[in-house]
Symmetry: C2
Subunit: 692 residues, 2 copies
Amino acid sequence: MEVTRKNFKDCLNTVYSAIEEADFLAIDGEFSGISDGPNASALTNGLDTPEERYTKLKKHSMDFLLFQFGLCTFKYNQAKSKYITKTFNFYIFPKPFSRTSPDIKFICQSSSIDFLASQGFDFNKVFCHGIPYLNQDEEVQLREQTEERRNQHANGVGTPSYISPSSSKGPAHVPEEHKDFISRVVEKVEALFANSEKTLDLEPCTGFQRKLIYQTLNWKFPKGLHVETIETEKKERYIQINKVDEEERKRREQQKLEKEQEELNDAVGFSRVVHAISKSGKLVVGHNMLLDVMHSIHQFYCPLPEDLQDFKEVTMCVFPRLLDTKLMASTQPFKELITYTSLAELEKQLKESPFKPPQVETAEGFPSYDTAQEQLHEAGYDAYITGLCFISMANYLGTFLTPPKAYISARFQTNRAFFQQVSDLLLFLMRIIDIPYLNLTGPDLQPKRDHVLYVTFPKEWKTSDLYQLFSAFGNIQVSWIDDTSAFVSLSQTDQVQIAMNTSRYAESYRIQTYAEYIQNKQQEKEKLGQTAKTWGEDSWVKPHYTSTASSFGYPRGLRKRSISPAQGEPGSEDALITDGWSHYSFPDSTGSKKMKTDDLSGQSSVEAVESKTSEGWLKTTDSSDSAGLSPVPDDEEEEEENPEGPDPGNDADGTVTWQQASVVQGRKGRKKKKKSEAPESTKSLFEVPEVW
Amino acid sequence: MEVTRKNFKDCLNTVYSAIEEADFLAIDGEFSGISDGPNASALTNGLDTPEERYTKLKKHSMDFLLFQFGLCTFKYNQAKSKYITKTFNFYIFPKPFSRTSPDIKFICQSSSIDFLASQGFDFNKVFCHGIPYLNQDEEVQLREQTEERRNQHANGVGTPSYISPSSSKGPAHVPEEHKDFISRVVEKVEALFANSEKTLDLEPCTGFQRKLIYQTLNWKFPKGLHVETIETEKKERYIQINKVDEEERKRREQQKLEKEQEELNDAVGFSRVVHAISKSGKLVVGHNMLLDVMHSIHQFYCPLPEDLQDFKEVTMCVFPRLLDTKLMASTQPFKELITYTSLAELEKQLKESPFKPPQVETAEGFPSYDTAQEQLHEAGYDAYITGLCFISMANYLGTFLTPPKAYISARFQTNRAFFQQVSDLLLFLMRIIDIPYLNLTGPDLQPKRDHVLYVTFPKEWKTSDLYQLFSAFGNIQVSWIDDTSAFVSLSQTDQVQIAMNTSRYAESYRIQTYAEYIQNKQQEKEKLGQTAKTWGEDSWVKPHYTSTASSFGYPRGLRKRSISPAQGEPGSEDALITDGWSHYSFPDSTGSKKMKTDDLSGQSSVEAVESKTSEGWLKTTDSSDSAGLSPVPDDEEEEEENPEGPDPGNDADGTVTWQQASVVQGRKGRKKKKKSEAPESTKSLFEVPEVW
C-alpha cells in the first residue's frame, strides 16, 4: 500500500493494527544518498574498528534523507498454514510544519538518485506528497509552544497569535503610498457592518499591507471582528474578515486551537509509525540494516550519539529485537548453501532446495507483489522479500529441531525468546574483513590484527607498488585508507618482524605494526580532544541537531530496556549477571579499548578472532586498481547499497567468512539461562551454526 | 519548450540558432535551496559589505543545485513590430557520466522544495531526465582521459579498457564455487565457434563472475572474439560475446571510441548552452539575478573564486553584458512608478499606464505562455516575463528620447552600447540597506556608516530591548547579526558620540562605532589567515572542487574581456582610462578597503552614499520580532526567493531607496567617452534617472 501525505491519516489505524497483530515485521529504507565522503573507500576500510565504522557512517551518511520507508507485517495464519502479509510503502519528506519550524536540509548524492531513477522511483511522491515527521525534541518543543500559547490566551495574558502586539497601542503609521489602499479596506469593512454578509475576503496583498490592515482594523474596530490570514494552495496569503459576536469569536478561537492540536499531530507524522513499531517490541527484520536503523533513529527519535556504546543502548531502546538477514545468510549453516547474500540473489536462492519458498498470502485490500517481477529498491517490496528470506531461513532452521518442524512460525508467538536467542541484536557490518557484525548487546569482536601492517607512502603509489614491495612475503591483502596510506595484511604473522626490519632504512615509505598505528591514533585523538571545541564554527549547524548534541540522553518516553525484553520482567535484570555476556568491561571513559575476558565458567569465552578469510589469499595482483578503490572482499551487494559497484576488473570474491568458535561458547553460556524457556530440542540447533 | 535529457540533443541546434538570432536573452534559475545557514538572517544582514554578502552566498548557497534553467530569447521583428520569443525550460541534473566520474552531492532545503512542489514543479523531470553537465575542468579532464586511452590503444601500448591488464598473464584463478559456472561459459563459447551464430549474450552475473569470464576467455581464445559488458536499462550487466575477424574487431573498437567521443559531448551536456550564451556576448537580462549568475558560473564554468574582485572579473568573462530588472525597477525613473519589485508584481504593474504591455509573439513551434495564468517559478516562464518587464521599461525610457520612440528595440541591434550604458553590469543586492547593487565593472559603493553602532548584548535580548536602550535617540533601525550582536542605525549621526558616552559604564552590553567594528574584524581576519590552513580537514571535500580551489584563474577558453565588449576594439582599453570609473584603486592585497577618489575632473566623483531610506525611520517597535529575524526593508520579494517570507507582523516597507547624485556624476564622466556613439538625444535620459 502506497502511503503519502494525502492518505496517511486515513491509513494510520490500518498500520497500527497490522503492527499489533503481526508475528514479526520487516523494514527497509531508501535514501537520498549513501556517503558524502570523497569516495566509497572512506566509508569502508576493511580493517575499520566498529567504532570507526560507526563514526564514519554517522559523519558521512546521516545528512542524507531516508525518504522511503518500507514496512511489511507478517502474521501466521494457522488455518491456512500461511503468513498473511501487509506491505506499506511510505514516502517521507520533512515538509516544514510552519514558517518558524526547522527548515531541514539534506544532501542528495547524484549516483544514488540516478540509480533510484533508473528503478522507476517516483520523486514527486516524495517531494510533493511525502509524509512529514519530527524527532522527539522537535515534537516536545512544538507541543510546549502550542501549550504556552493556549495558556496565555486562556489567561488573557498576551494576545492571540493573529493580532500583532503593537497593534492596539494606537493608530497604525500608514506610509503615504498605502493610505489609499488602507482606506479602501476600511470602507469595505464599514460596508460589511452595514450589510447582511458575514464574511469579507480581501484581495491577496503583501505582508506589510497585511500588517497595516491588522493594525488599522484592531484600532478602528476593537470588537465584533475576527481577522485572519488565509493561505491559498498557491501560497498566496489574503485576509479574511468575519463579523462575529463575542461568543462566536471565542468559539472560533477555540476551533483554531483545536485545529492547531490536530496539525501538530500531523506534523509528528511518520514518526508515529516508527513509535508504534518500537512500542510493539516485536522482532524487526532487515537486510544489511545498520544504515536503516541509524537513519530511523536519527530522523524519528534523536540525533545519533557520539559514542558507539551509546548508540547501541539507544538502538536497544528503540528496536529491542532486530535481526539482520544478510548476517544470517552469511553465517552457518546458510553460509555454505548461499553464494550471494545481496537481497535479490538471496531471495532467489531461498526458493530452491534445500530451502522451500515460504507460503504467504497478501491480506485483503493490499496490493500483492509478484516476486518474479522484481520491484527491487522499492522499500515496501524490499521489506516484503526480506521477510520472505527470513521465513525461509527460519523454516530451514526448524528442520533441525526434533521433531523437525517445517513451519517454525508458531514459535514466534509462543516463545519470542527463540529467535532472540538465535541471531538478533547483531547487525551486519558490510565489508569489514574480520568483524562481521555489530553486537548490540555486548562488546564487539576484537580480532587479532598481528599480521596487519600500516604503510605510508607517496601518493603516486598504486596497489601494484604495494604488491611489489611485499612480494617476498607471499600473498598480501591491501586495504586502502587514503591516497598515502593503507593496511597490508600478510598471510603469516611471523613475517611481520621481517617486514619491519627490511623497511628500517626505507625513505619513500614507512611501515608500522597495527598495534603501533592504533596507539598513535589514540594519542592523536587525545590531543585533538583538547582543541576540538574551537572547531565548531565551520560546521553545518542544523537547528534540529543542537538541542541534544552536547549531552546524550535516552530518547524521550523510552526507558532503558533489558537485553531481552521478552523476558525483561522486573528483577530479571539481576539474573542476567550470571550470563556469560555480562562480564566484559565496556571501554572505559579514557577511551582504552582493551577487553577483559573474565568468564566465571573458567573458559576464555571470547578470544580475539583469527582474522583470515577461509577463501585464502588472493592470487591476482591487479595493477589496474585505482588508488582510491579498496579491494575488500565483497560480492555484488555493493550494487544494492551503492550503484557505484565494484569494477569488473576488481579482484576479490564474495562472501565474508570468519571463525568464531569461541563466541559460540559465549552464546552457550547465555543459553543456560534460557533453558527453562527454550525447549531442550533447540540444542541441536546450536550445534549446527557457528554463531548461534 | 521543455528540454530534458531525452530531447536535449535534438533541441541543441534550435537553442543555438535562437541565441544567435536574438536581440537579447532573459534567464532564470530554480534551485534546490537558497541558504544552508542556520537562518535567513545569516545571509542577509542589512549592513553587509558587498564582500561579506558575496562570501556568505558563496559559502551558504553554492551547495544547492541549479536544477531548472529558463532561457527566453527575444528577437525584434520589424515587419510585425513585435518581439518574437523562444522559451526553453531546461531540467538539469548531474547524472554521473561513468562510474569513475565525480559523484556530485548537493543539498536540498525542505522549504524550497516544498515551495516548488506547491507550484507544481515536476521533480521526476529533474531527477529522472535532467540534462547532465560538466564544468570546464571536468570536461578537460574527461577529454584528456579519453584521448590518452585512444592513444594507448592506437600504439598498442596498454590494453583496451574492457580487458583487464592482469588477464593475459595466464589462466585465471577460478575459485572452486565458480568453476562450474566458468566451464559452462567456455562450453557455450566453444559452441559459438562451431555454429553459425555471430553473437552470444550471457546471463547477467556479478562483477566478479564477469572478471573471471574476461580472464578465462582472453586466455583461452586470444583471437577471434570481441567481449563486451552491456548494461541493461535496469542497470543489470551482462556479457556479450561476438565472433569477429581481426578487421571486424578493429572496426568495432573504432566504433566504440567514436561512441565514447559522442558520450563525452553528451556529458558536457547543458554546459554547452551556457557556453553558447556566453560566446554570443549578448545582453542577458535577469530578475534579482546575482544567485543565478553565481550558480551558472559555479556549475558550468568553474568553482567560484574566493575574492569578490575575482568573481567580478570571471562574471565579466562569462556574461559580458548583464542587466538586472529588479535593480532597474528599483531605480529612477521607475522607482517612483513601481511599488513592488517582485517579478510577479512588476510584470502586472508594467502592463498598466504609464507603461505599455510589450508586443510579443511566440515563435512557431514553441508553446506560448499566458501571463494571465501565472506559471511563476517555472524558470522558463520567469525568464519570459523578465524579458517582458525589460522591454516595457526599455520602451518607457525610449519616450524620453527626442523624438520619442515607442519601441526602442532597434537600438539593441544598431547600438548595443546604449543599454550597456544604461544599466547593465550592476547586479541587485537584495536587502542591503545602503548598497543596492554589485558593480561588476568598478569598486562598489562605500556608503558612510557613521550613524551605525555595533552593539553586543546577552542572548536573551530582543529587538524591543534595543529599542528601549536607544529610546532617547529617536528612531533607530536594528539589523541583527547573531543572537548576541546587532547593528543599530541612529537617525542622527551627531548622536553617536552621546550614545557611546552613555554606554561607557554599561556591563550587560557594549557599543562600538561601525569604524571600530570594521577595524576589529579586519584584525581578526588577518589573525585567522595565519591559522586557517589547519581547518581544511573537516570541510566537505568534493572532487570537482579541488582542482581549481587553490589558485584562481579565468575559466578556460575565455579571455579577460574589456568592460564594454561592444566597444572593446583593440586599443580602446586605453581610452577607458579617461573614464571617471577607472580611477578607483581596487582593494590592495593586504585587504585594506580604503577607496581613493582621484578624479581628474577635480570633482569628488564618488562620495560615500548617505545611508537613510527616504521612507524615514520606522515608527513601530514590534516586540513580536523574533531575535533571528532581521528587520531590513524588503517587500514580498522574499517570497520569490525564499518561501519563508517576512512575518506579517514584521515591520519595514518595500522598495529600497538610496541617494547617489555623486555616482551619477561618475556616470556622466563616462558618458563623455561614448558621445560619439550614443546620440546626443540620450542626454535627456541621463537627467531623469539617478543612477544612469
